[in-house]
């Protein structure tokens, strides 16, 4: 058994060109449109003192509109939407804001609809992992979170096809993060 390499902060100098134009739009892949309901997810990332964090890298991973992951571990993956990659990357702006355009995920086997988030930033020695939900439900990952904190993982509907998911790294109403 080999020891997994130690993590380190992404630092303040992640190349801007690594946040490719369009990398935050999961509804299009190779010039083709994914099937399902296109939605916006917007949010703001702040640290303990409330300061907005600029240039923080946010990545998401999710299944397609039918809840199928584009990955051979999913027994249904042969039926995954060929026009949906399921991965995207965004960087926060000077107000700490990020935005993704994506497809409303279907429910994977045994889970509620959700989107996996990763945050990478200067001062984060480890990647921070959390999960966005659209509503409370029976979901093993959500149920692992203390009941009093589950609401913090719910995206807030802002209007048709528009959701808000704010992330607080530390302090009051701190977003739950997973220790894996």
């Amino acid at each position: 058994m080999m020891i997994p390499t130690g993590e380190a902060t992404i630092g303040p100098f992640f190349p801007p060109r690594y946040v490719d134009q369009g990398a935050n739009d999961l509804t299009m892949f190779d010039g083709r449109k994914a099937k399902g309901e296109a939605i916006w997810i917007r949010g703001r990332v702040v640290q303990e003192d409330g300061a907005a964090l600029e240039n923080l890298i946010v990545e998401i991973w999710q299944p397609d509109a039918d809840g199928i992951f584009r990955h051979p571990a999913d027994p249904r993956h042969a039926r995954a939407d060929p026009d949906f990659l399921g991965w995207g990357r965004a960087a926060t702006d000077d107000k700490g804001g990020y935005v993704f355009r994506t497809i409303m995920p279907g429910a994977p086997e045994g889970r509620a609809p959700h989107i996996n988030f990763m945050l990478m930033f200067s001062g984060l020695m480890r990647i921070l992992k959390t999960t966005l939900y659209f509503e409370h439900g029976m979901d093993v990952v959500l149920l692992a979170v203390p009941a009093s904190r589950r609401e913090l993982l719910m995206a807030k509907k802002q209007g048709p096809g528009s959701y808000r998911f704010d992330i607080r790294l530390r302090g009051e109403n701190e977003t739950p993060f997973f220790g894996d």
């Binding site: 003192d49 990659l85 991965w87 739950p176 894996d180």
Partner: protein, 237 residues
Amino acid sequence: MLSIPMPTIIQPRDERTQPARIVAGYPQTPLRNPRQPLVKRSPTLSELSGPLEAARRVKLLGGDIAGHGDKQAIGQLIHLKVRVLDEDGAPVGGTLVEMWQANAAGRYLHPNDDDHAPPDPNFYGAARLVTDESGRCELRTVKPGAYPVPTRDGWWRPPHVHFSLFGKVWLSRLVTQMYFPGEPLNGQDRILNAVPDTAARESLVARYLPPTGDPHDALVFEHQIVLRGRAATPVQP
């Protein structure tokens, strides 16, 4: 041909092989890292799958970033042989590797870097490529310079190269840094030394290979990166 996908097993890491989240003398860390205990979960398909084709979403840049002829970057030319493995020691082929570093003077070409050192017009400092089937990728670059951290208390980052890798599943995603052997600043770097386990810390330092004449113009270093995950043992029916 029918291929039966081999599920990936992810087990908790020995925390001593990973850096502390809050680091003395690194003033941003106490403001940005969770105060609440991290939530323990058993990974599901969602975390045990992940983007295998991220390279199709981004623009690859290749691994030769030192420039040639009149356009060669200033600095010690190095040839870096990177190998990406999983916890079984099996190669992780076809995975996206993103690398970035300072120039030989210790300056990044990034709006966040101040003007403590000169930019090099022939050095952007970022390579983005995909590992081959044996989990290897090769970089031709220059050795990065050390640079002062604006804490103004004498913390200098030793020469290092940043890496971002994907692997086979969401939980194998890795952001790390590689160091150079024998650097006097390694011993006091707050980021490198945030990893408590000695062997794990030493594995972040590249290995210097003696010159052999191939390539004749660059020093050669090799570095191994181990991503999380093991293949599940196949169950005989």
